[in-house]
Symmetry: D2
Subunit: 332 residues, 4 copies
């Protein structure tokens, strides 16, 4: 309560709390009164209490996400066929930003598989900042991804950006990706939550850890518990990198949630030269996987040419990552 | 080009630019070579050029949004029946965060109309950060809004969050609102772009001015030029306010675009006590309108109780706003 | 306490709190135990408590700044001779970024006085981001400021950047300015706190309201209560403006402190074209004053040419500001 | 130039550039004219040019820091006696936030030395956000640090916060530390620049890479080239960590400068539990060293108890760091 709160304000707040079947405990201090509230605060209409006369602020103790919270739970594993994300193995996802042609996607798939990747990424529906930019091949792209899977045995992850496409995309892919711009696209979260497919949920470039976990909670509340979180860079004042890849998110999220956490160093930095050192950093910090943009011919990639590494650099990187993983009792 | 770029790198870059039907002009400086490019840079694949060996960076001169850009255009007016946004009059939109009941919405509508508001706001579909929060009345809410319109003659604005709902919502509302979380929800932008209805586009809480204008461009590129921009607070490190309402956006956007610009001081601050001073600031800075959360009983509002002002405070505010508008040759 | 905290952890925390002469009140909830602490929490070693086993977090109720806090105090007025900052009158400070010559500073002083400014600004010691930039005239600049004061009767404010210069600068100026980069330069804060002179304390471009008030507390704890706070823009991801001028700081700080609050629209935006609209916004939001960069020949100003308005624009602006001030019961 | 710039504006800009002994090259494009400027742009008064009529913006190609820039230079090594920072070895600096007593500092020094640290950290002058917090032991603390050096052979680094103390602190320490709050305290930078001592310069929590390098340039311009840069976390919207440790700074700064780059995971995260994973990440990303807060009794550390690890955890961490360093051809 505010320092200047009246007796009547305090009594009203207490009655309000009691009317919600919660237990108020007034604590009369030297400078002001604080009312502790015992019970499940998730049923507390925080904004309404805040709006009452004499109330200074409401401080929440419990986390507003229940299913995603770590409390009392073991680390989850998300299984994609025989690929396990969140186990001892660090899972590497690689592939081009956009699917361009059968030749391109199959060539890349074969090469990254050889280097040790377990999952192939590739965009068929591209969310682009500008309306005049290439928007992806659509279903044709999905079919090419499926061909690359057939040719290599790799699993597939691809982004869905429209709730109307979830059914179609689910037919082709192994993992549904929800991109950074859609982290709070609630109709889309609900739609992917209704499937039983693994979902790769990227952190909004503006979102704090709590909001990312609430987005996961949206999916989980629909019955789908197969959520993989992905750090992909946040917005700061720095302009040298496109985003600031927040490696702190890895150990922090591990403290807050039981869900697996992977990292995208390509979008997270927007700079090809930073992909290798930041990939190493992510694995050293304990990431359960990485998603890396790789291309057979980065200079001529249609999308994200400036953050995509070539297949040789990827192969070298994989060796370093495996050695680092071993230092902390894991492997690639 | 980089300082250490080789002659061959420079020649390759020049050939690449020529192959795109643009004109390269190499400028040999004391420390490095810069290649000026003449032509419409919007056709330039910036990322590909950046990825070429020897290239240090690509600096863009032209703006990537053409339809939304101010250059060579007069200020636009968006007409909603007889209400004109972007003209001499500063248009005030008011109403509750969420439509709760017929009694609530009609009572509020009558009151805000009497105080001088021209448009009624009210949410029927609510994007909520947590999955367990009230999600709005849906079509029932739309019908109640329509009743309030019938009772008062006010125009209506309400948010649409799912591309599948655009058709339905369009049947009831006068203006479609795209919320902050959906500023880069491209399927939704395209869907509202296909209607001929005025669109109130809120700035993403992470988006810079350029990205807001690119989002407007998405709508406009579909043939719908009736876009109203809305500043609603951005994310900073400050935690006293829920967001940092960026009043600078008003005169800045006025320099960059011909579209009208309004301000939302309720979501922009998240604090009831700041709504009045920040509303005055927005009008003084040249905003074409405001969208303010008002409620007959803010303490018991289901959503956003802590940022909603009551009808009396709204009435007093309107008088101050009118006086300020007159100082800069406008009126409420 | 953490959900998984042991009985022993809870008992240890309770003993620790008791040993500090504070009163612990354990609240046993459905999911976890919370220990309320009654007493002056400012003596609580928060970090030590946080570091104890089983402790999840420490939430603070009291504000860590006592002298600067509004609680129980009336709004303060800072008097500079017959000029009162924090009263009914909105005080306008104007002048060039840097003092360049006698002719320049006297001409500007005369003009801004005629337009209604009460205080003259001008830098003699310039904190510049680059070591090769003009660093100010030093004591010679102070003498020229004094001449301009003699010629006009305006009061003077100028920046001090080195604790060793406080004594010298105090001989010439009426108000000591502590700049944004020095908001947490504690030796400097202590040194200006030891004088009895009014201090204009600018918000650090990274600092939240609480940190600004703690910086004021540093000055006040030395015995000098004459502190004027100044919002001057914070750092965000937006690059169109040099900084994001945070108008919300005006009504927010007014809720938190009794100290007067002024606004610097010139550094706050870094853009000449935004100075007029943002000045109007600041006064409309309730600022107690403005500090505006004005120059007789902005294009040839040695420093900050791109954010400095000319004397004619300043004169016009003053008329608008006076009209806006009157709307809220104040005047220029 | 602006699209609407007049012929006369363009000619004036050209004359202005010529008058500065630079060479203007007008490029007439389809939509506007761009004037390329050839010569050392560091002499260009950018703000003045920006302020000219018809000028839209000035885009800089050269970097404003010359001594700190990597261009044409090899990686620098900073030698502190026989300890080399910036070489093959990754140098670990460890010790308490504040020097508390002889027993404390000597015990910690012996232990971290045994674990492989080469340099001892410890604060004698503490910049504290609140004026009522412990401000350090001052010269007494310096003497205790010197004792710890005598007892172990470790080198010493300690912070200096007042230009008046540089001479005194230099008598005792091996490296002078300039803290995050003082990154743009120019009198202090100049004073440490006048010594010949190695300087550990911490990034301002608001500063981008360019500004950090300009701060280094201030020191170097005084003749002192022995500068070590230190990433220590920046301010973002995330509140779970005290700061967001920006690991991207390591490979990014390595691209921009020849100076060594180290990382402070303790202040960078503000959370004891994140120190180990983020230390590993920093080394994996290529840091030349780390500075880690360690204490014999973290719970009872006077300062920063919540981000300080104990001596056992430090010893374990050192083994992991050595293994990771070897993966990239380095060692601890």
């Amino acid at each position: 309560m505010k320092k200047e709160a009246k007796k009547e304000n305090i009594e009203n707040a207490i009655h309000k709390i009691e009317s919600l079947k919660l237990r108020p405990v007034p604590l009369v201090g030297t400078e002001r009164t604080v009312i502790a509230i015992i019970g499940d605060e998730r049923i507390l209409p925080v904004n309404k209490i805040k709006a009452m006369p004499g109330v200074e602020k409401v401080m929440e103790v419990l986390k507003p996400y229940k299913l995603a919270s770590k409390e009392g739970k073991k680390a989850s594993k998300v299984r994609v066929g025989d690929v396990v994300i969140g186990g001892q193995e660090v899972i590497i996802i690689a592939g081009p930003c956009a699917v361009e042609s059968e030749k391109q996607i199959v060539e890349i798939a074969k090469s990254v598989k050889k280097s040790g990747a377990k999952i192939l990424r590739g965009g068929a529906y591209k969310p682009r900042t500008g309306p005049y930019d290439f928007q992806g091949l659509g279903e044709k792209g999905l079919k090419l991804l499926a061909k690359a899977r057939d040719a290599t045995g790799l699993k597939i992850v691809t982004e869905v950006i429209d709730p109307r496409d979830v059914e179609l995309v689910s037919k082709y892919t192994d993992i549904l990706q929800v991109g950074t711009r859609n982290m709070q696209n609630y109709p889309l979260l609900k739609e992917v939550g209704k499937t039983k497919m693994p979902v790769l949920l990227k952190r909004g470039m503006w979102a704090n850890y709590k909001e990312l976990l609430l987005a996961a909670e949206y999916i989980m509340a629909q019955g789908n518990r197969e959520v993989i979180l992905c750090e992909r860079g946040v917005r700061t004042f720095e302009t040298y990198t496109r985003n600031t890849l927040d490696i702190n998110a890895v150990p922090s999220l591990k403290e807050l949630t039981h869900l697996p956490v992977i990292v995208d160093p390509s979008h997270g930095t927007g700079k090809k030269s930073l992909v290798t050192p930041m990939s190493r950093a992510a694995v050293a910090a304990g990431a359960d996987g990485l998603i890396i943009e790789t291309h057979c011919d980065p200079e001529n990639a249609i999308v994200d040419a400036d953050q995509t590494i070539d297949l040789d650099e990827f192969a070298k990187l994989m060796k370093q990552l495996d050695a680092i993983a071993k230092v902390i009792g894991r492997k690639i």
